[in-house]
Amino acid sequence: METKETLFDFLQQQSGKLLEQTLTHTGLTFISVLLAVAIGVPAGIFISRRKKISGLVLGFAGVMQTIPSIALLGFMIPLLGIGPKPAIVALFLYALLPIIRNTYTGIQGVDATVTEAATGMGMSRRQLLYKVQLPLAMPVILAGVRTATVINVGVATLAAYIAAGGLGEFIFGGIALNNTNMMLAGAIPAALLAILFDWLLSLLQHINIRKTRKMVYLLPLIFLVLSSFYLLPDTYRGKMLAGFTPEFMGRKDGYLGLRSVYGLHMRTLVISDMIMYKAAYEKKLDVISGSSTDGRVKAFDLVVLEDDKHIFPPYYAAPILRNTTLIKYPALAPALNRLAGRINDSIMTELNYQVDYLKQNPETVARDFLRSQHLLQPAGSGKGGTIRIGSKIFGDGYILASIYKMLIEGYTDYAAVTKTGLGGTKIVFDALTNDQIDLYPEYTGTGLLVLLKTPQHVTDSIIGDKQKVYEYVSQAFKKEFDIVWLTPIGFNNTYALMMRKTDAEKWHINNISALTDFVNKRQ
């Protein structure tokens, strides 16, 4: 029995990476807050003088605040691509509201008699602002900066989705890999950073009003220094750039395998798979980790590199459910198994293409597919109970969930509801074991490597054979979780490295070994 890796072990092993991510995170936070102060404080001053437009400006900043952070990051990508630029802009927009609003409120809150006295004594507007309004509004403005900083420490974790780095890399990697240590290694420092900055700024805020006068000049300087952290880790330039999902980064059958088996070392960014393909197409990235059946491979004119040393294990999809569910709903397994062997790689790619790229509704695509396979039946009574179908947030999951819903309703008297978009493997698997959902489609490879944490020698002995992997996973799941694997659907949605077709042809790269040679020569 292997001893379980503790959080402390993980932190020790990854201390370099952790430091880098913490610095990046701090940098991201403070660059954006600094920008927000540079724009927000003057804006707040401006609207305190022109009350008519104050509603408009505060409204705009308020709307920015209500956009979900991940959506805001998403909006930035078409405009600014991926990486730090869109992340900083999005974070800046988030920080804007508290700073504008607090500047405005702070200045409005200065006793009218005091400003009248100042004007009446012959202070110019400038003197009034610098000697009276800003010093008296400073505690309120600092409170705004404090709020903005804490918000941004939190939102900056999402920057990992668009290849801007930060502690989100560990957090999302950990969620994707079902690796609690990795998740905590990101989450705890992020929380500590938020608490630390909040505390430091609260000290500043409550310092004697007189000393803040000097502090006001010091503050931007401190922010500037903290901002510059972002530039430190950026030491590679002008080399091939790979964008990998957080999940891929930490997996043995992912980047770790690429390094150990192929000896591939390249500059990598962590990026969400939602935008990865497009980023490759737009030449923001040169190599990406995709899934072989993804519709966007077709849409964005990419080419899958052959895994000539077989490090990517088979990822055959099959529905998994708790044994108790099967006993409770005996008609379920036959209905689900009607799909077994029906979808091969190219069909899945085509289905994904329709959903991911042609933006068709997964339900429509599922219905059309079932009709073409003569499997579509009108829905039954639905009185026999309700089956909850889960899925991960990938195209495969949505389509398969819809297909299963129609199969269950067509061939049994159960009703079915779908709970799609449950995030990564860990979230959806926890939902299954905790009886939040009844079934979801899982991949054999994920079961083997992520959920079971199979010992290395076992993995090595069976990884080349898809049948052996399926058998091992079925048995182990039954024993360990009392969860049953039904018959695989047919397609193998394995990891794949891919690059632009034009590049691959230009440099004659058709497999991962060739890519490794190419990268090593270039460096």
Partner: protein, 313 residues
């Protein structure tokens, strides 16, 4: 020194806050703008240091039309005292007093000297109060700091907007007394706004009684009492008429009507510049000797009353 020439100001379409107002204030005079709230007295005051701009008409300070000056320049040469002091909460007492001299870029030593002088004169021992914060002071002390701040740069003109309005009655009377005794104020041209009739009669060398943006009467306290210009003035003063008369009338004003009485053993206890109110307090216990223009008279209660009655007729 200060001249308002057909000044109009309105804030809404209906009614003029200040309606065709003309007046002149002589050098060294204290003019009190008196009236109920909303009569336009504060508006008038705020137009003189350009916190408000008149809709039409001209205002001259020291012979200069004020619009020819930058507002800041104008204001730095006019002391301004507000009802709620408007002291800067983030400045110490001495820093507050030094604001205008600093704006005028006096050198540090001069400012320091001036601040200490003023604090001494206003009974705020610098050792104790120079580094205190305004919030730590009593209302009366704060008002004195406000006055010191207005006087700091030696402005020839002082505008005071209800300077004692926020103080409790006891403090108000004592601060007012100090104010009257303050030599710093003796040569300045002062315009003071108040709604307190007694205060107006006590402090004003002339009083401008206003109603609905127009002047009802402009004159010395005695003129207002003796010859009210219209019904409004008479009605406005009626409730406190006797008190005002007693406080305004000085013994010397009554001199012709005071009986000639002589007697030994009386010491001079009153000056002829004191008012009837004070005289009455003095003569309640025993008659007193008053000297005026090389003449001595013995003053007692009945003599004083008869003289007042005679003056009124």
């Amino acid at each position: 020194m200060i001249k308002l020439d057909h000044v109009f100001k309105n804030f809404g379409p209906q009614k003029n806050a200040v309606n065709d107002l003309s007046l002149e204030v002589a050098d060294g005079e204290t003019l009190v703008l008196l009236g109920t709230s909303g009569c336009g007295k504060t508006t008038t005051l705020r137009m003189i240091n350009r916190l408000l701009e008149p809709d039409s008409g001209h205002i001259y300070v020291n012979g200069k039309e004020i619009r020819q000056l930058a507002p800041e320049t104008l204001r730095r040469n006019i002391g301004y005292v507000l009802q709620n002091t408007g002291l800067f909460p983030h400045y110490t007492v001495s820093e507050n007093i030094a604001i205008v001299p600093s704006l005028l870029q006096w050198d540090k030593a001069t400012i320091q000297q001036r601040v200490i002088t003023l604090m001494d004169k206003l009974h705020l021992p610098p050792v104790e109060y120079a580094d205190a914060w305004p919030q730590q002071l009593s209302g009366g002390q704060q008002q004195r700091v406000g006055l010191a701040r207005a006087l700091a740069a030696n402005p020839p003109v002082l505008l005071m907007d209800e300077p004692f309005g926020a103080l409790d009655p006891l403090t108000r009377i004592s601060v007012r007394r100090e104010f009257k005794a303050l030599d710093e104020l003796s040569n300045r041209t002062i315009i003071l706004v108040t709604h307190d009739v007694e205060e107006a009669f006590e402090l004003g060398s002339r009083i401008c009684l206003m109603n609905e943006g127009t002047i009802q009467q402009l004159g010395t306290p005695l003129e207002l009492l003796r010859r009210p210009a219209n019904e409004f003035v008479a009605a406005f003063l009626a409730p406190q008429r006797l008190l005002l008369e007693l406080k305004t009338l000085k013994i010397k004003d009554l001199w012709p009507w005071l009986p000639h009485q002589h007697g030994p053993g009386h010491t001079t206890a009153l000056s002829a510049d004191q008012n009837c109110w004070e005289a009455m307090e003095a003569v309640i216990s025993q008659p007193v000797l008053v000297q005026y223009a090389q003449e001595q008279k013995i003053l007692d209660g009945s003599g004083l009353m008869q003289a007042i009655a005679a003056w009124k007729n």
